[in-house]
């Protein structure tokens, strides 16, 4: 006898499926210099993810639809995109929460496009290199001096808690590409880089805080933030991004962290 639960194939009953339109911003420079909108009508379980909808299109209708994805449960940060005007991970948004379904039909299309403020390479894929460069500019690694201890460095639970929130970052760029300042001026480091600077500045083991603060004191640094809170809204990990940026600003004024 085979593994039991899987002998029961899902019933052919499709009564729970709903009809939803995905309106996707397409762009493929190999085929055309112009981007365009394309609608796809799906029959899909409303409890499925937007990513499942994208897969349905790619696997069953149009194999050329292109997007990044990997883990499919909000951990790897591959599938950040603009969904109904907000940056989201496609694998963390369920159809039922976004399609406004009435009587089995989505009343409005789900509008999906690449993240804003970044160069679109094909469909929903953007150039991530400038984003990672801003991250690297923050010296995102523990900086210490003197001899290493034999055992672990000690850190109290309270000191560990101090930077816990910013350790959650998965570098998906949802925050940075939701920031109007970043849209207007690609030179701004952007929220994600500052979040990762925060993660080290407020780590009691780190001694590179002053250096990082100097970088962030730059004209393209932390002062460009206008506390719009888009980044906090966009973060799929629930990081209080704006708060972290404010804490860095305060540290710059008081030089205490």
């Amino acid at each position: 006898m085979a593994t039991p639960t899987l002998e029961k194939q899902p019933a052919a009953d499709t009564g729970h499926l709903v009809t939803v339109t995905f309106r996707i911003r397409r762009f493929d420079p190999e085929r055309s210099a112009d981007a365009y909108w394309q609608d796809f009508e799906l029959r899909i379980d409303p409890k499925e993810r937007v990513l499942d909808g994208l897969h349905q299109i790619k696997w069953e209708h149009d194999g050329s639809l292109t997007f990044r994805r990997s883990c499919a449960h909000g951990i790897c940060g591959s599938d950040a995109m603009r969904i109904n005007g907000k940056n989201r991970l496609a694998c963390k948004v369920l159809i039922k929460d976004i399609a406004d379904v009435k009587d089995g039909v989505g009343t409005k299309p789900v509008v999906i496009e690449a993240m804003k403020g970044m160069t679109v390479l094909k469909d929903l894929i953007v150039d991530m290199d400038p984003f990672f460069q801003a991250y690297r500019d923050m010296m995102p690694f523990l900086i210490t001096s003197g001899n290493e201890p034999t055992r672990e460095r000690r850190q109290s639970p309270r000191d560990r808690e101090r930077f816990d929130d910013t350790t959650k970052c998965i570098l998906c760029a949802a925050c940075t590409s939701s920031c109007p300042v970043f849209w207007n001026d690609g030179q701004y480091f952007g929220p994600a880089a500052i979040v990762n600077a925060h993660r080290f500045i407020f780590d009691s083991r780190d001694e590179g805080g002053e250096q990082r603060l100097e970088i962030l004191n730059d004209r393209d640094g932390v002062w460009r933030c206008r506390t719009i809170f888009n980044c906090t809204d966009a973060c799929p990990r629930g990081i209080q991004v704006t708060k972290a940026i404010q804490e860095v600003k305060q540290a710059l004024i008081t030089r205490r962290f």
Partner: protein, 588 residues
């Protein structure tokens, strides 16, 4: 139209940028000119999805030592573990954890400021007396923290990454009658160009191959690319029949809910609310090893005690734990339950089922990470570490928290060994037309006009693997799976892709990945058919007992091609290294 090609030359090339690849890269970059080729941006790797922790007998919170850890690993692996390797794993665990802390990893802390530790399945005090707190952790995102910390240190060391480069072939060439490593061939996703990387040493660290199952915790991208590339070049794959099914995947979706949930006191319950693990593992209960718990869950389901209208799952109950504890120790998995199931874990139990999780088998290596060409000889210049490899420290069943450990211990070892080899060895000549095989394959796939679709073949593969080659297996189910896979492989030859472009052609990528999955699924099933016993993650209902007389040995599977181009699999066997521990019956 021919495919453009570039040639690069590096001392050391690392394939994959998850935990093992980046741990290797940190060592190799310090010692040799190193390139890391990775299908994904490094921080996208599936190491980041690991939750519960990394085992090391630090004894920070209670008495513990590496010998107990070695024993648990050997017993957990149902005695198929190579004991010399397990001893290295457990001994070097301690420095591995301390190294990560020094690299900046934010572990949870004890009140004294030491690295905190918690219980995990199969890890015990004094050879099975009681559960021990051995797992070093950072909330329920230990893998995320390891991946981030290793990437941070790669940035610090200036590691050179080739992101979104998909390695499709391993280049070997004869040196005085010995097949030696010459390099790899990679496909650049952004452009569709081929790149030949000539290298003195190559480290495969490309991860697992779980995507041939439908219900799996594995990422879409875990398609066994490294295993398949080695296998196609005639190198063996070891113990592929041993695949781990993690007990607690989210029902139907397979998303992992860490064993740490049970380490923190979570309980598995059937439809009657009974804590059924007490029947199957009186001492370790819910913290028995994963193979035991997964089989127990399915036994409950088969005997009619499953939950829900279909009776096809059981519950992970966290409702008796204080909400503060869930928030502090298990924030991510409780959020998964809310996001994907609409369930509040403070008050409601979470529906779960076993989920395909981890390949114990892989490319055989010795404890230096050197890849074996057969039972005794290494392939000069070739290394492997992490899930792609089989050392074997996991034997027939891996213990929880031993994989984050494995990638660090053996990732480091492989990185050091590869770079040291590269420091003395010369380049091996590239074979003639080194990229031809890949160019032909890619062009064939792009130009194909066949009527078969990737999605249908993949679905059929996943259906048969879930049905026939999962937690319970018999000769009949495995034969059925093998027949189906053979048929699917022949259908695969008529696959065509819709996207004919060169730029980010993920349609083509998925087709190539499917080829790897089909190849490896066949090896798994073929190896499983021949292993007429039950051991660890491989359970044969027609042979329910472990058979040490006939099967205390590793499977070594080889691809053979006859003069007419017909492919077959040949099985050989390799002895298990036993040092301290004699096999005994495994009880939890």
């Amino acid at each position: 139209m021919t495919t453009a090609m570039q040639i690069h030359k590096y001392d050391t090339v690392i394939v994959g940028a998850g935990g093992a690849g980046m741990r290797a890269a940190i060592e190799a970059t310090k010692r040799s000119r190193t390139a890391v080729l990775t299908k994904l941006y490094p921080t996208r790797s599936h190491t980041g999805a690991a939750q519960g922790g990394m085992a090391a007998a630090l004894a920070n919170v209670e008495d513990d030592n590496w010998e107990w850890h070695t024993f648990d690993t050997v017993k957990g692996g149902d005695y198929l573990v190579d004991q010399d390797a397990a001893e290295i794993l457990a001994k070097e665990a301690i420095d591995s954890v301390l190294d990560l802390e020094k690299m900046g990893l934010p572990f949870n802390r004890t009140p004294e400021g030491r690295i905190d530790q918690r219980r995990f399945g199969g890890h015990s005090r004094n050879h099975g007396e009681a559960p021990v707190r051995r797992s070093c952790y950072a909330a329920d995102r230990t893998g995320h923290m390891i991946l981030q910390t290793l990437y941070q240190n790669c940035v610090k060391e200036g590691v050179e990454f080739f992101n979104e480069f998909y390695v499709l072939d391993l280049l070997l060439n004869d040196v005085a009658g010995v097949r030696s490593t010459a390099g790899v061939v990679a496909y650049e996703l952004a452009t569709g160009e081929l790149h030949v990387f000539q290298a003195k040493a190559v480290v495969f660290a490309s991860g697992g191959n779980g995507k041939f199952y439908r219900v799996t915790s594995n990422a879409h991208t875990l398609t066994g690319d490294g295993q398949a590339a080695a296998f196609r070049r005639g190198l063996p794959l070891e113990d592929m029949e041993f695949f781990q099914f993690h007990p607690t995947g989210i029902w139907k979706m397979g998303i992992l809910l860490t064993e740490g949930a049970r380490g923190e006191g979570g309980i598995l319950r059937n439809k009657d609310g009974e804590r059924f693990m007490e029947k199957y593992a009186p001492v370790m209960k819910d913290l028995a090893s994963r193979d035991v718990v997964s089989r127990s869950i399915y036994t409950e389901i088969r005997e009619g005690r499953g939950c829900g209208p279909e009776g096809d799952h059981v519950y992970l109950d966290l409702t008796h734990l204080p909400p503060e504890q869930l928030d502090a120790k298990l924030p991510d998995i409780t959020e998964f339950a809310r996001t994907y199931l609409g369930i509040e874990p403070y008050t409601d139990p979470i529906p779960i089922q076993p989920t395909a999780h981890y390949a114990m088998g892989g490319i055989p290596t010795n404890v230096r990470g050197e890849v074996l060409a057969n039972n005794t000889d290494v392939v000069p210049g070739l290394y492997a570490a992490g899930e792609v490899a089989c050392v074997s420290v996991h034997g027939a069943n891996r213990l929880g928290t031993n994989s984050l450990l494995d990638i660090n211990v053996f990732g480091r070892r492989a990185g050091v060994a590869a770079a040291e080899y590269a420091a003395t060895a010369g380049f091996v000549d590239l074979p003639e037309a080194p990229a031809q095989f890949v160019a032909d394959e890619v062009e064939r796939m792009r130009d194909a006009t066949g009527n078969e679709r990737v999605t249908e073949i993949r679905k059929a593969l996943q259906d048969t693997m879930d049905k026939n080659a999962m937690v319970f297996r018999t000769e009949q189910t495995l034969k059925e799976a093998l027949e189906e896979i053979t048929a699917l492989r022949s259908r695969y030859r008529n696959v065509s892709v819709q996207d004919k472009g060169r730029r980010y052609n993920t349609d083509l990528l998925e087709a190539l990945e499917l080829g790897n999955l089909l190849e490896l699924a066949e090896v798994l099933v073929f190896s499983a058919l021949a292993r007429k016993e039950s051991r660890g993650g491989h359970y044969r209902e027609d042979y329910p007992n472990r058979d040490d007389v006939n099967f205390m040995r590793h499977t070594m599977a080889y691809r053979e091609t006859d003069t007419e181009g017909n492919e077959s699999i040949r099985l050989d066997y390799k002895p298990v290294v036993q040092t301290r521990y004699q096999p005994t019956e495994r009880k939890y």
